[in-house]
Every structure is written in C-alpha cells, then in structure tokens.
Symmetry: C3
Subunit: 167 residues, 3 copies
C-alpha cells in the first residue's frame, strides 16, 4: 500500500469525491465524517450518492433493485468512503489496511444474495489497496434506509502510525 | 467539554438514569453496560426505556410511531446512554468526544425518515457536550427489536486520557 | 480466564472449528476472519454454519424458526467465533474479555424475543471464559441474511497484552 494507491484509485469508475469543498458536514447536518482513535479510523455511514448528495440507487434488493445494481451501488458507496478517508487524513496512502466493513442492504425477506452485493465493497478495496487488503465483513438485510437509499456502508480502516492528525 | 457538561445534562427533559442502583446488569441479565479499551468506551445497545426497564416507545416507524415520536425516543435512549457512561466512568466530564452512533429503528419497508429520528441522538449529544460534539452516524431500519422496542442505540465515545478506570 | 478455558471449550456441544485447514478465507472468498488493532480483536460476521460451510439454520424467527432453535443457532455461531479467535491468535487463553456482541437475527416484524436468541451468545462466552465474562450486547431483527441464514454474529474481544501477533 504505497503511494501508487492514488493511481489505482484514479482507475475506478468514478472519481473519489472531494468532501472538503463543500465540507462534508455542511450538507449532512450535524454529524461528522470520521472519528480517529490511535490508528483506528471509524467512518460514519455512507450511501451510494453522488457528490451533490443526490441518491443514485434507491429501492430494495429482491424487489426493484437487481443484485448487479446492488453490487454497483456498493462500489459507489465504497468510493465515497475513500473520499471520507481522504477528507479525514489527506491521502489514501495513509491507510495501512481495511479493518471491517458492515454493509446494510435494503432487502426483502426472501432475498439471499447480500454477499454478492457487498462483494462490491471488497472488490474496490482490493483494487485500490492491493490483493492483501482483505476486509472482515458482514452484509445485513434491513427493512429500509434513510431517503430510500438501497444500501449504506459502515467501515473502519487502520492507518499507518505516521498518518497525520485527522479532521 | 468541561465539567459544565453536568449542568447542561441537568437541563435535558429527563434526569440521566443512575444505573448503579440497582446495578445495570442485575435487571438485564447476563450482559454488561460498557467495555473500555484505552480511551475508547463502547456501549451496549440501549433502548428508550425508563429506569425500571419499562418500555416507553414500542411499535414501528411508518406504522404506529410517528417520526416526531421516534425523535423523542431517540433522545431518551441517548439520555440513557449518558447514564451508562456515568455508570462506567463516574462522570460525563470524562468524555472527550462522541465517536460513532448507530441507531437501529424498527421501521416499515417504505419508511424513509430514519435520519430525522436519529437526529434525536445527535441533538442530545450536542446539547450536552457542546456544538463541536458531532458524532459519525448511521440509522438503519430493522424489522423488529427485543420486546417490541421502537429503537436501540449502539454508541461509542472517546474518553479523556486521564479518565478513571471504568467498570 | 486461564488456560483451562480450553477444557471448558471442549465441553461445548460442538468442537470448535479449525479455520486453518482449509484456510478461513479460501472458502469465503475475498474477506478475512479478524482484524486486530492493539488488544482489540474485531471479528467478521459469522453464521451458524458447519465447518464445511453448510448452513445449519435457515429461515426467520417468528416464522419457520422457533426461539429455542434460534438460541441453539446463536450458540453455534458463537462456537464458530471462538474458532475464528483461535485461528487468529492460536488459543482462547489469549482472550482477556469479551467486548461487545451484536447479533443480527432474521425476524418477522412482530417477533420480540431477540434477547432470548442472543442469550445463546452470552451463555457460550460465560461457559468458556467464566462467569465474569459478560459482553455488551444488542440483538437486531433484520429482514434477511446472505444465503437465508437465520443469524449472524458480529463480535469483538479484548486480548491480553502479551497475545502473539494475529493473522
């Protein structure tokens, strides 16, 4: 996980959003993007929205949303999470390893492919941080999410010891 | 976040419950209120119950419970969480910052105002710990909760380095 | 929590699975079993499956699955979690204390005994690590889980300071 992480991130299907301008918190109200304790950086929940906060994927798996669309939404939420990390510590090169990823997926009672949706999370992390960057994971079917979003990602990463102070 | 946090907490709509007497664990069975590792204090799930353990808000958002009632329930669960912190380390003045708040909300499939419910969590934290005390957040619609509770809060806070040993 | 933890673990209803052979990650694809930062060991989600990955309990509480069966499934998932800890640090004797357990339970809208299901988690932890080994907890009703599993456990434990490096 050297600095060429930025080059790999640039090859993703969307540019990593810049949450500094306008600031992350300004649009979302009274919450913050991340909290860091030591080398553990904990991210707030992030959805597959665009930088302007418009919802990109709404509806439920097993109903209006296909597993393939859910996978794409998971990738987009993960790319947004990368933006939250950049916003917090300045560069993805400060990430030592993904820690744990919990994907909340709006899904019907009989949907059973949650793991194929959350594969979008792990795939983005592996593409950006390298083939060793496995994440401990779970994917959970929820009844509904804020603003009818299809999924929300809850993620932790470990930073290198010399990562600069976060904001 | 100086000691006047206690004065601000006293202005909340309910007194912060004293989980020392009877002890938190006694009523809830075989679980503990919090676990601390270093400066990270992790709280067990807490519902909008009263100190005697009676449920205050039951039912689901989008069905029997309005968003306004959900917001009030979220505030109450948060006030209870403050009691868990007091029980654990003796005083809210030992809190350096809220870390992350995950609000589980019993909600129908088409409910979409989870964020307006969990605003009750952030509002209480800001009122008590000050306007800088933002929390990283997510709010999730679940199918059901123990004893038909309307919501459950899953929270972490960071303690000051000199906070006393927790119980 | 001395080394006799292994003797107590041997008295459980199932042997603790050996996730080293075949390796945990090999079957589950691109994820890892655990991540450790300092003394905090965070486990990925684990279901009540057998060592070969066959599902042991499927369906939802309040529908096809009774609370008693859910309790047994929670015990099995917890025994599997013990296997993940052994895989990660070699022995359960390195566990200082359970930290926090979040149990995701596939459940209908009107199911309300989630806490009786997740009691299976705390019971196993207390049987293995001793009567002081309480866990901070929550149990959440979800709409559905990967592969129609009935529950999934999301757990953290604290390791002794001298625990060996994890994998």
């Amino acid at each position: 996980m050297t600095a060429d992480v930025d080059a790999r991130a640039a090859a993703l299907e969307f540019p990593i959003p810049d949450y500094a301008n306008p600031p992350y918190g300004g649009r979302y109200g009274r919450l913050k993007a991340t909290h860091r304790i030591g080398s553990l950086l904990m991210l707030g929940g992030i959805t597959p929205e665009d930088r302007q906060g418009n919802r990109v994927t709404t509806g439920r798996l097993g109903q209006q949303v296909t597993t393939a669309d859910g996978y794409r939404a998971a990738r987009r939420a993960t790319i947004n999470a990368l933006g939250m990390i950049q916003y917090s510590v300045g560069s993805l090169a400060h990430v030592k390893a993904p820690v744990r990823c919990l994907t909340f997926i709006a899904a019907t009672d009989d949907y059973d492919e949650h793991h194929l949706v959350s594969a979008g999370v792990s795939d983005v992390l592996l593409e950006v941080f390298g083939e060793e960057a496995l994440c401990a994971q779970a994917a959970i079917g929820v009844s509904s999410l804020s603003n009818a979003n299809t999924l929300e990602l809850w993620m932790d990463v470990e930073l290198h010891d010399d990562a600069p102070a976060s904001r």
